[in-house]
Structures are given as structure tokens and as C-alpha cells.
Amino acid sequence: MAEAHPVGFQWVVEAKKRGARIIHVDPRFTRTSALAHQHVPIRVGSDIAFLGGIINYVLQNELDFREYVVNYTNAANIVSEDFQDADDLDGLFSGFDTETRTYDPTSWQFAQEDDQGDLGPAQADDAGDSAEQRNTASGLQNEAHGMQVGSRPPRDETLQHPRCVYQVLKRHYARYTPEVVEQVCGVSQEDFLEVCRAWTENSGRERTTALVYSVGWTQHSVGVQYIRAGAILQLLTGNVGRPGGGIMALRGHASIQGSTDIPTLFNILPGYLPMPNAEKHQTLTEWIDAVRNPGSKGFWANAGAYGINLLKAYWGDAATPDNDFCFDYMPRITGDHGTYRTVLDMIDGKVKGYFLLGQNPAVGSAHGRAQRLGMANLDWVVVRDLFEIESATFWKDSPEVATGEIVPEECRTEVFLFPAASHVEKEGTFTQTQRMLQWREKAVEPPGDARSELWFFYHLGRMLRERLAGSEDERDRPLLDLAWDYPMHGDPEQVSSGWGEPSAEAVLKEINGYEVATGRPLSGFLEMKDDGSTLGGCWIYSGVYADGVNQAARRKSRHDQSFVASEWGWAWPMNRRILYNRASADPEGRPWSERKAYVWWDEDKQEWTGDDVPDFEKTKPPSYRAPEGSDGVAAIEGVDPFIMQGDGKGALYAPQGLIDGPLPTHYEPVESPFRNLLHGQQANPTRKEYRRADNPMNPDPRSPGAAEVFPFVFTTSRLTEHHTAGGMSRYVEHLAELQPEMFVEVSPELAAERGLEHMGWCHVITARSAIEGRVLVTERLRPLRVEGRTVHQVWMPYHWGQGGLVAGDSANDLFGISLDPNVLIQESKVGTCDVRPGRRPTGPALREYVEGYARRAGVLDGSEGPVVTASAAAQRESAAAQDGDDQHAPHQREDQ
């Protein structure tokens, strides 16, 4: 945090000054460790074992915050008697289909009230085709949807029922003992128990513990389950929805939160509505019901209004109740259309054109060589950036030009490099990592022909529509009927010539939503109607333009308002700064303690009040109980703080939404020198793989010779002085001078073992590539003892490429493509490698050298051993829990 988010880290230092204890868990000693009370070096890729160990400590010693856990989480819910745990099935949960490597989650569901019969509609809807969900990254119901469980599963609030979530959890983590943590993570029992004590002693009524992670956590083949493990621990210790608690994701780009909320992502639409699927969402009603999920509690019940307001914002007057608000105009997804699939499709010649908008995948995405070979096989690329980045120059100076794989005279890709306006040359909002939107004023005009994306896309759309005007072709209707009329401003000459800058504020008003007839901006999403009388482009952002005021532009000094600073910028939803803050009060609505008071029920005024905007219906009392048979918002009871979840409770156990299991389980990274100590199942059995000769993964440790060819573990992260793929830092004099050269950080022990000289050259090799850098020998990295032997970890920054003021090899060239099954994010924080002194070979010799390694490791053709490694008996038993027709014989494996 101190390295990559230094200004955010000032608040950790403030907390420390007030007596907070700071623990830093990281493979490498960093500036964060230097200011922490305790640094815990850990083996990369073992985080679930570590967190599972703490969960086990909490449960074995009954140190959970019981009143919070019983009332606000699903701990008391009873799980189906068909459920079998990974602990019983060698690392598989029940319902595994060995052929498709996916689960039928029917057996994971909560029991039914009558304890027999079929699943309720809310649960049954989702117990479907999880292979399809993996491809479309929709298992999590498109990232942010709550679990769509029935609103009233059977519960045992004594937590004694053997199949209640609390007991299931307790059995699941029972094997994650301090001894196992020591063996798997390389963390001493003493260090580990110190963390356990600190976490539990600092949680409860009077105190809260915050968990902060950087988004390298997501870059694992079990990334979503890492975060789930953190969530389970924070729910058990009562740290969610309370001040000083929570889970904070330190995201890495100025508006990456915004670009998720208003997504440029293939599987979702603004406000986490699903991109329609050709199979499941053939009609407007099917699409809405998939989100609304009749039978569930919560605010997704109003999905009809959210979806119709979006359609109305897209297609304006053309969108009417009679034509289902132009729902048919939406293109449909049918499978994996993620960025990695698309890049492999480029290599295979299936894609024609590619836009790169302030993004440099030649350096920033995993498997850089595949990225560049893909771009070299397109008809055209449009790059919009401040500088001449590597993704614009792959045809003339990429590493593949040196190896002879790309020959400029033979490369057909047409490249357009458009100069982009910088953040001071345009107005608009960024959404920072705590969901807060902040409006930026335009300071100056962009230089020369530099323009904003708003300008580029507005005018591109205008030109497409002009070219298609008069077309009778039905496929052109969505473009021709598009509401694409925004006021222009800026340079008067450009405005009058028809090339003006569209008003970002007008776009923000459309995002917020307004009454169609009057243009009156909506005050929030509760005003959205499902009859076409209102429109709004992103329901969760509704309220950002309430009263016609740009709420994101508010800049009331921190000195003139409360510590919550509600009048600086605007946070979604409805300016709530801590989500689920109803949980900061006890079931009766009273603060858990004086010290931790935040939002509470005011008995006299009969309303919720406090320091923040209550994340709860303002006048719904804690004593409210839902009438029999209710669903949606009416079914949220006074003690249900998690208002987006189908049962209103925090999910310790997730019966739905996860492709890889209802509970986080330790799996080894795809590339690991170690066998999974806990199960026969080595790595995530449901991970998304692309097995092909141009994407070899290093072999798993049971392959003969694997340990000799790629004996070390490597990871990457950021330097304070550089930014991701370097497009905004390697071209900046001050930053280039501060960190001028790519380096490889190793421990003195590894340096001695491999003959690496401090400040000399070394190179790192995987089955994909070999890259070089200067050797930095420090004690910030230490060898760890794992499973009884020593493991060396190598650390590299990933900011360099061939362009910029300071050039160097790119660490992301080392990674292959292997993805988390829930969200299709690549495992690029851990891999295995070899490290050798001296520089790497150049020219065609580089490919021969790398292929020599791949050949020795037995992965030259991209076939690296089976994915499903649980015992045959476990596979059979797991498959037996599939729901009827879905069953396949366990010996049929996709990967063999």
C-alpha cells in the first residue's frame, strides 16, 4: 500500500498514531512492512491456506462476534443434505462434471423448509449450466448481484445443527491448522498465531479490524475465492458495514471502479445489468427476471425499472412499451468474449479491428508475445494515447521484430495512433476506489489534434449514423435509432464546423436519469419507472445529478464538515460512504458500542440516522418483519443489512454464483513447485484454460523434471515511481529518472545459488519467454520453508517495454494465460521460472532458448498434464451429486 497507493497509506499511518496495530502480509518486505508492527512473509499463491487458518482459529475457539454472525450472516442457514465438502472429496465439492470441469451446484443449495421436494424458484433458476456461466463470467450474476437464494431458508440460530453453515464452515476449515499453514505458506506458527490473536482481539463490539488488499489478489486462478476468504473472515469477526472495518480493494487506475460500474466489459451493462445472452435472455421479461429473480429479497427486485431506464437512455423515443423498449436491438453474447479469448482469436485471424483506449496490452496484459502477435494479425488497430506506446509500435520495434516473428514489410495491420486529451484537458468524472465520483474541471484545451474519448466516440457515432442514413437494413436500426444528440461546447470554431466537444455534463445527466416529459433530473433510482416515463443510463449512479446539481463536483473543505466528508464528491449508491452500514448497529438498531457508533435507529423520530447516509430504508424499523409470502424490498426485514442479497444476510457460505465452489479451498497456483498438501486436487479444477502450443503453461510438480527446469516462484508488482504498463510514467522525465531500469530482485541465498551478482545482469525464463534485468540482491526477499524444503521467490516490477525514456524487458511476457473461472481474470501474480546470470539470447536465438526450456519441461506443444487430479473415487462420488441429465462419466476429461 505504501508503495503503490502511498497517499492512501497516510490513513494507515494516522491509524497507527492512534494506536492501531498494522500487520503486513506480503512475500516481500516493502515500505509498507517498514511501517507495520509485523511483517509476515508468505509464499505467493497460498493466501487461502493462510486466511483459512485464521478462520479455523476463530471457529475452533468460538471467537466469532456471535450476535452479529447469527443475525447478519447466513451462519444459521441449513445446507442441503446432498452437499459434500471438498474435504470429503479430495478437493472437489459435490456435483463435479469431469468432462466439462464444472459443477452442478444443485447439492450446494440451502435445504427447503419442508426439507423435501424441489428447490424454490429463486434457487432453482441458478442451479444451471455453470460451463456457460464460466464462459460469460456470469456465475457471480454479473459481478455485483446478490445471491439469488430464497428469502426464507430454514435456520438454526443456535448454530448447532450439523448442516448449518456455521458447522459446515467449521468442518471445512478444520484441517487449516497452524501446522498446515506453516507447511503450505511458509509462515511460522508463532507469526501466524500472532496475526490470529491480533485480528480477533481487535474485533467485536468495541473494536473493528480493516482488511486491505491490492488487486493483485484478483490475478490468481482462485482470485475470487481469495476475496471470498477475506469476506468470510470479516463477517465472522463482525467487521463488515462498520466504521474502521470492511474490506478495501486498492484498485490501480483512476477510474477503474467507474469503468466497472459503467462498464466497458463484455458481460455487463451499466449498473451491473447483464449483457443479454442469446440463450437465456431472448425476451425483455427473461432478461429482467434473470436479474429481478422473483422470490428473492432486496433491491434487485426493481430490476425492471433499472433495465428499462437504460434501454430508454440508449434508444430514446424509439424505445416504447410496444417494442419492449428496443430490447431486440441489443447484441447477444454466447460465450467467452473476454480480452484473452479475443487476443487468441486475433492470432487465429478471426478479428478485424481493435481499439486501444489508454491501454497498453503489449506490456500490461499477460503473455505479451501473444498480445503482440495478435495485433500483428489484424486489419487495423486504433490506438488512442498520450504517447507512442508499445501497442502502437509492435510492427516496428517489438521483441517479435527482433526474433523475426513480425516482419514490418509483411505485417498487414494498419495502425492509427490518435493523440488523446489528458485529464486536465477535458471535464468529466472519475470514480475512485471507494465508489466516489469526483468531477474534474477542464483546465486548458488539448494540444494540437489531441481530443477526448468523448469527442472521438461521439463523432465516430455521428459519422457512422450519417453513412447509414436511409439504410433499410434492419441491422442498422440500433445505430440509426440511437439517442445520440449531445450539446457541443469548447472551441467556437470547432463547434461551428461540427467538430465540437460534447458536453460531459449532459452525458452525466443522462447517466443520472431524468423525467422524459420535463427533463427534471431524478433524485435517485427509487424514482425510476418501468413504463418509459423516465430514462437513466446507470441506475446505481442515479442521484449524482439530483436537483440538477452536479453532486460529483462538490468540494466542501474537509475542515468544514464531518469526518465522513459526505459533501466532497458523491459516492454511489445515494452518497452512502460505507456500504451495508445498517450492520454498524445491533439488531435493535442501537450502536454496537459508543466507540463504534455510525448509523442507528432514532426511536423518537422513527428513522435511521447517524454520520453517514443509512444504507437501509430510512423509516423501516429494526422490528419490521416481512409478511408471509413477500419478496423484493418488502421482504427485507429490519435485521437484514445486506439489502442486495437474496436473503438479506452476509454470505459466509455461497450456494450460488461461484463456479469453483461455495467455500474457498486451498488450491495450488497453476504453476507451482509444490503438491497440494491438503487434497489430491492440485489446482483449481474449474479454471479457464486455453491449451494450445502458443500458450504453454509450466508443468505441474508431479511431472518428471518439472522441479529442475522451473524451480523458483516469481511474482510481480508495482514501483511507487511507475504506473502499470508504463504508458504514463516511462515517458515522463521525472519518473523515468527515479526508476530508470528493469530489475530482478532476489535474496542473497538465491544469488549465491545461481551465481547472480548484485547490479549485474540476469534473465528469467518461463515456457513463454525469457526476459532480462539488473540483479538486485536484498534481504527483502527471504527463502521460505514450504513442505519441508526451501523455496526461493523472485520479484519483478512489470512497468517496462521497449518504448519510453527508459526501456527494458516486460515481466508480463513471462506469464501464460490461465484464468479464474468466475471472472476470467488471468493468473499473473504467480508462476514458476528459472533464473540465470547474464543477459538473455537475442534475435531468433531467444525463441530457440525458450523452446529448449519448454521441451525439457515437456510442455512444448501446450499439453501439460491433467487438470483434474482428485482421486477417481472422489470424482465418481462428486459426479453422483449432479442433477440427473447433466452427468457425464468421470473418466471423460476435457484435458486429456
Binding site: 496490452p361 504517447f387 468523448l454
Partner: protein, 194 residues
Amino acid sequence: MTETPARTKRSLLPWPVLRQLADGDVLGRGRSVRSKRTDEIEPRTATADRVAKSVCPYCAVGCAQKIFVKDEKVVQIEGDPESPVNRGRLCPKGSASKNLVTSPLRQTAVKYRRPFGTEWEELDLHTAMEMVADRVLRARRDSWQDLDEHGRKVRRTMGIASLGGATLDNEENYLIKKLFTAMGAIQIENQARI
């Protein structure tokens, strides 16, 4: 180069530490570090024509910035002390953001590389826009699918992909997704998938 006599004869008195001790300005933040030149110069923040309220473009902490403008040029960027997020502070990257936006390395004209070309060529902005519009329509036409291989209605193109958005504004991402969706392009992705 030999040192000039004037230099070797210079008195030790101007040595700041001696001045500090002599003036009682132990921390060196007062009179002892001022010179005639110091008194004559004014900070760029004081002489700016205007100040725009902005936000740092690097990570997602969201530090507020003040952009000082003089003669339509950015002359200084500082953290905004009123912000509850950063209290005026910026990290090395945020502090270098004036350098980022005023860099002589920035592209200010469209560059074009034709198929099989070995050099960049310059292109007029509007011509480039026309060329891109033509290519988008052609790629869309040539890769259009009304139905997928299972006969399901998809009305889309699989020929146009996009990557980027995490460094852009919400309003920009909104228009990007709106336009691509209307034209039937679905392989629209950004850093959040990476």
C-alpha cells in the same frame, strides 16, 4: 578546468550552516535561506491566471489536484489541501503529473502506419476519422452475424474489439459502451478484466 581565483578566495560566510547558526535560524527555514533572488521571485501558484479543480490520473485513491494555468498553459499541479482524501498530498507520480501533461513527447497529431509500411506517416485528424469510420463499417459488414451457429438471434459483429476505459471518464465509458452496443460490437473490455 581550473578554478578561478575569485572562487578560491570566497569567504566561508555565505555557507548556509554558518548563516543559520549566526541568525539563530537552526532549522534553516527562515531568514538565513533567503536571498535577494528569493525575495524577487513569486511562486507560479500565485501568478496563475486561474486554478482548475481536478483529480490525479494515476491510481484509484482519487487525490484532488489543483491545476494552475497561466497564458493557457499548465504551469503547476499541486494536491488540494481541502480534500478529505489526500489533504494536499501527492505521491511521486501525482507530483509528476504536470510533467505528464506538458511533456514534449506527447503526440499532438495523428500518426498512420499503412499495411506493410515501415515508417509512420502523418494524417489530418478529420481524414483519419473518416478512415476509421469506413473501416468500422466494413469490418462490421464483413463479420456480421444475425444468428449464431445454433440459429439463435445474436445481431452482432465479432470482428471489432476494444480494450481500455480504466483511465477514462465515466461519461466517456458510457458513450463507448452505448455506441459499441448499438453497432453490435461485444468484445468490449478494459483493465478490470486484467
